[in-house]
């Protein structure tokens, strides 16, 4: 095993490290959540990453998005992500898609993944992503943030998923309370860490996964709670 993974042991066994190396994860959205998730999955040794975002970095991203930098303003997030993963861990096989996921391109983009990670910033797109993941029998690890609050859940095929969290998909604004509260770096990266942890547990089949449960946290009160959705 490569020395780069020496500090993963023995929290992760050699066999588990090999399982991660042969795993393929699709990260949808490369902003505040996605940048953190990709950084962590590349470092821990997930072998293949399919990275999707049709956006370019702008100045409003600099407060929280790990892959954004002053020199890369105007550059596609997907291209910066590829470069960053290559710099962190050249053993990772990276496929980037400088586009937005839709019904037409979904199979090509996420069809090979064992886990899909929802790092989107719109509620309506989250419902679409859930549908696309569930019809392909792929577990979805979802995170969302607003101000100092965050939430994480894991949705398997057949689970009720987002309708228990956001209500009727057709009776929803595209954004949530983040429109008023904004998005903060420390909250984004905390939720990205929680998402990464769920991805690793799903891939390794180990630990308690947040299926049909929602972890909600608020950093202002240091409250962390796992709520039962069904």
């Amino acid at each position: 095993m490569l020395p780069r993974y020496a500090r993963n042991f023995q929290s992760i066994s050699l066999e588990e490290q090999e399982r991660l190396a042969s795993a393929r994860v699709c990260v949808v959205g490369l902003g505040g959540l996605g940048g953190g998730v990709v950084e962590m999955l590349a470092r821990i040794g997930v072998g293949s990453l399919d990275l999707v975002d049709g956006d370019c970095f702008d100045e409003t991203n600099l407060n929280r998005q790990l892959f954004s930098s002053e020199k890369d303003l105007g550059v596609p997030k997907a291209h910066v992500a590829r470069k960053r993963v290559g710099a962190i861990n050249s053993t990772v096989n990276v496929n980037v898609f400088n586009t937005f996921l839709n019904r037409r391109n979904a199979q090509e983009i996420m069809g090979h993944a064992q886990v899909v990670v929802d790092c989107l910033d719109s509620i309506s797109h989250r419902f679409l992503l859930q549908e696309l993941a569930q019809t392909r029998n792929i577990p979805l690890v979802s995170g969302a943030i607003a101000g100092t609050a965050g939430q994480v859940t894991v949705i398997y095929p057949g689970d009720p998923g987002f309708k228990l969290i956001y209500g009727d998909p057709y009776d929803n604004k595209s954004s949530g309370i983040e429109e008023q509260l904004g998005n903060l770096a420390h909250c984004a990266l905390l939720v990205a860490s929680l998402q990464s942890s769920e991805v690793i547990k799903v891939l390794l089949g180990r630990g308690e996964v947040l299926q049909n449960r929602l972890l909600v946290c608020d950093l202002m009160t240091n409250s962390f709670e796992v709520m039962q959705l069904v």
Partner: protein, 54 residues
């Protein structure tokens, strides 16, 4: 807080002046419930807005 018998979560939402469309998620003692849930003694109520940022 103390409420009269038969108070449901919707009554609390009205009392606090929270717009109903902003209430997407209600937890009573850590379990998801609906606006029509009638409160019992010592219930812990969480009323959450939609969180969708990334």
């Amino acid at each position: 807080m103390t409420v009269s018998q038969g108070t449901c979560v919707m009554d609390l939402v009205t009392k606090f002046g929270i717009p109903e469309e902003d209430v997407k998620l209600i937890f009573i003692n850590g379990k998801r419930e609906l606006l029509s849930y009638v409160l019992k003694d010592n219930d812990r109520v969480g009323i959450f807005p939609p969180v969708g940022g990334g």
